[in-house]
Symmetry: C2
């Protein structure tokens, strides 16, 4: 036992029980101590990854990384266990002996290449300077050529799993990233024994057991009806890839809420938690948020709104929804079909506009009022009638993840005049993301998976104008959730189930999930006004997004060519010749 | 004689001769003293109109003006004669006795309602508080409903003059403004003896003679083949409008370059110029610029580029060019057909973007470098390869004056990503206006009026990147002209012809026109790159502009309705209900 003082004291039989949820984000890990009885969040610890995201070069090395690469260092995740968890326990002021379980969630699809014992390849002698030995973060987008080949071949062969992913496999997922690894560093591929989701790798570090969670195996690993893509398919991509599933990927699947194993002595030493407590099967940040938001019933869509938005929802049956990210049996809650969709740019778009498109006076006025520029623009925009700005925008500045599933799309603003002001464009961008959400909901509704309730988590719910716009645009009651650390709470709920404190995640969610913060009801006049604007959005969405005018694809191709032409530059400056 | 000292001195027979050109702009008048022999500009005087443009209310009055109204006070123009002309003479340091003629140009269509003796109605007792007694400035747009009725009726009746104006009569012109006056203030209409172009009213003030110039009579007064719209047509618009042409408009026409009369004693006293010298027939700022730019030969298009752009060009024959502003016999140069086209927003769009869309860092960096924000953005944009920004914009922020002739159109930007920077959008807007110019040139070329040469005057030629973009986009050599006061120089050229110093305007233009400042030659690789982007522009131009998706019209209608709904406001703020 690593906390001998506490273990040796006498403890009352009715002492409260706690769980620890740990949320591994893109830049940091956050541990939260949660009371099992009611979900109260008692203490938090946060630890920033020392290496953050590697995009330019490897650590302590001149080895450069290519465009669209994004790597991480796996030991940074271990440091979260060693730092954030003890900090959370200390902040909560509880006896660690009263912690009965640990749950984790992770970004996905984030992949670790390991040996048979879980050692990441970058920790092997002689591998520190090989980019492919490191973790490929979810937003590593350099495997797009491989993804394109996977999609082309799967469509040609009519692979039955393809429609489960809205017809497109992402460059972010296990197969595209794995094929890139094979083709660009065959030696590392050969040495690699397992191609492991970071969500599962961290559980392996905690328990010494490798278990693949049903969520990422389904959403990111193309596991459908117990089967992965066939060796035949893989061989057609690349003969050396034929054994990818059997040699590198397939492994025992753990259902969400099950224990993956018990906390090892080593991990108990790192965390200060009791050895032997339950560790839940790994999970994904967005997906654990649904139980944290008490939104796991079929029809309850949870939107995690931040820089981007991820939508998760359970359904009783499997339906194929065009353009969604995936439908996975037990992907969110064991026993139900979990659906996932997303918008690649939401808060990112608002942030881009504030950084790149707002003149000094607005910054000065905001500072004089002691508010941020976002708040200032929001207040100005809130004074407008719907449609008064005369604008329609498309929210594709970061591509389109769901419905169209096309990362070559880009943003549009229609309707500017010489009287257009920054708050007009800001409001049009807020509205565009709401129209994007409505387009996703419509796709679900039209495919037999009706959305009846909309629950919002993440960082954006604090913008009340934005929430009212969403309620009015989607014409559904909208509820925000109180917890600012919903994923960690969701992981804690899974920990409680894994520890046996609740019979299943749904029951635990009812007891421990966060209370609603606010409810926004659609205002009928606003709903009518937005119906009119949504029709305009849809016309433009289809025109630019469904092939009538693929100008955005061509502009990106031209831009890439022009950027590449820097070497053999045309005369770049105006060449006026005095006559 | 009003300058007795100089008149009584002995003057050598070979004393140099001078003319004075006076350019009446939107906010000020500018007089320039020009040497007849070679066009040298020797002295300038500028006088700002004390009342500038009336948009909110009448002077010294609480009488409010409606949306889109824009009035002026005619006496402000007389003050230019009394102030700017003596200042120019003084600055030139010449003997006013050596001035042999005066020429003027004016904004158009700017209309003055007068009595039979030229007295403006607003100067009558009891009329100072009647908005319709004042000058309707060119950009008074409140007669749009009347213009719409004129266009509808003319199209229904197949009026033969309609195609001469690209199929649409503007709300800015004589008939729409006159019909508004009749219908909104019939008493003032009844009292009015003449509905006079300001271009002719100022000549009337100088000479005591009312002569209608061929340019505005044709372009703005719908005079074609010696005939105005018929009384029958006018009666169908409004029975009380039947006599509009006969009672209020028609009058002797003066050809451009002719003397309208001689400088009156009163005007000689105002200006300090010799009584009895020639005063040229009135003219329009854009149209006098062509001779100032030595660009009066058929095929030479002169673009006056400022907040908006006006294109003028002569042709030997009458062709109907779809969507141009007008074709008028002798409208620019007596004996040729004068064509006019325009872009409603050019520098205005760049200015709007700099004011409303550029973040503080760019303002700070520009200030630190001691340059303006326009210059700073231009330098950043000049470093890019063509197409590198990945954007296409439509330049309709102020509507479309030529080709589409639709002021309900609005601006578009397609292709933004989270990496898009202000200089990217700035460059895309520069390019959009160049594509707009190419669209106009293509319409001329396709209609049998080929454009072979492109000459630029106005304020924008100082942006060398912009000029090179235009040369590359239109694939024509582009020449800028040296004079920063080209309209006044053009008026002086007309004065010299009216005074008999040259046989006609073409000859005077050759002798007195401004030398080219710079020549920009198209760069073949750039031409090819822009051909590709222009194809994208054209697709979007036709999609948004030719009826496939009239979303811009609908957005404007929605915006007007929403603005009007301010009285019966919907709940304007988000209504979050704590649950």
């Amino acid at each position: 036992m690593n906390t001998p003082e506490s273990r040796t004291q006498a403890r009352p039989a009715d002492a409260p029980q706690y769980v620890v949820g740990i949320d591994f984000g893109t830049l940091s890990g956050r541990a939260v101590v949660v009371r099992v009885a009611d979900g109260a969040e008692l203490g938090t610890g946060v630890f920033d990854y020392p290496h953050a995201v590697l995009t330019g070069h490897l650590p302590d090395s001149a080895v450069p990384l290519g465009v669209d690469w994004a790597l991480q260092v796996p030991n940074d995740y271990r440091l979260v266990l060693q730092n954030a968890v003890p900090a959370a326990i200390a902040a909560a002021g509880i006896d660690p002996a009263d912690v009965i379980g640990v749950g984790t969630d992770f970004t996905a699809c984030t992949m670790v290449p390991t040996l048979a014992d879980g050692t990441p390849l970058n920790e092997l002698a002689g591998f520190a300077d090989r980019p492919h030995a490191y973790v490929k973060l979810w937003r590593h987008h350099a495997a797009q050529p491989q993804a394109d080949r996977i999609n082309r071949l799967a469509a040609e062969r009519g692979e039955t799993w393809l429609p489960r992913y809205g017809g497109l496999i992402s460059s972010e997922w296990e197969f595209a990233k794995g094929l890139q690894l094979l083709e660009e560093d065959p030696e590392a591929y050969e040495v690699m024994d397992h191609w492991v989701e970071a969500a599962d790798w961290i559980v392996w570090q905690l328990t010494g057991q490798y278990v693949r969670n049903a969520c990422t195996a389904g959403y990111k690993g193309i596991l459908q009806n117990g089967q992965y893509p066939s060796a035949d398919f893989l061989a057609a991509l690349n003969p050396n890839f034929a054994g990818f599933v059997i040699d590198k990927v397939q492994h025992r699947i753990g259902r969400l809420g099950e224990p993956a194993g018990r906390l090892s002595a080593e991990a108990a030493a790192w965390t200060g938690l009791p050895e032997g407590i339950a560790v839940a099967v790994g999970n994904v940040d967005a997906h654990v948020t649904a139980p944290a938001a008490r939104a796991v019933a079929p029809g309850q869509m949870t939107a995690i709104m931040g820089t981007s938005t991820c939508h998760v929802m359970n359904g009783r049956e499997l339906c194929e929804v065009p353009g969604m990210c995936g439908a996975v049996d037990g992907g969110i809650l064991d026993g139900l079909w979990g659906y996932e969709a997303g918008q690649s740019g939401v808060g990112d778009i608002f942030g881009w506009f504030v950084a790149q498109g707002v003149p000094p006076k607005y910054h000065d006025d905001a500072a004089a009022r002691g508010v941020g520029v976002h708040e200032h623009l929001t207040e100005l925009a809130a004074r407008q009638e719907i449609g008064q700005h005369g604008l329609i925008a498309l929210d594709w500045h970061s591509g389109n993840r769901s419905v169209l599933v096309d990362h070559e799309l880009s943003g549009v603003v229609v309707g500017q005049t010489l009287a257009t002001k920054p708050e007009d464009i800001y409001r049009a961008l807020l509205e565009a993301t709401a129209f994007g959400t409505r387009t996703i909901i419509r796709s679900f509704n039209d495919s037999g998976v009706p959305v009846t309730d909309f629950v919002v988590a993440g960082g954006l719910p604090k913008n009340r104008l934005l929430m009212q716009i969403y309620a009015d645009v989607i014409n559904l009651p909208l509820r925000t959730i109180g917890s600012s650390q919903a994923p960690a709470l969701g992981s804690a709920i899974h920990a409680a189930v894994a520890a046996g404190a609740y019979s299943d995640v749904q029951v635990a969610s009812d007891a421990m999930g966060a209370a609603p913060a606010d409810v926004y009801l659609p205002i009928p006049a606003n709903v009518a006004a937005y119906n009119e604007l949504f029709a305009e959005y849809t016309t433009l969405h289809d025109y630019f997004g469904r092939g009538a005018n693929p100008v955005m694809h061509r502009l990106k191709a031209i831009a890439r060519r022009a950027t590449g032409a820097a070497a053999e530059r045309r005369v770049p400056h105006p060449a006026g010749v005095s006559a």
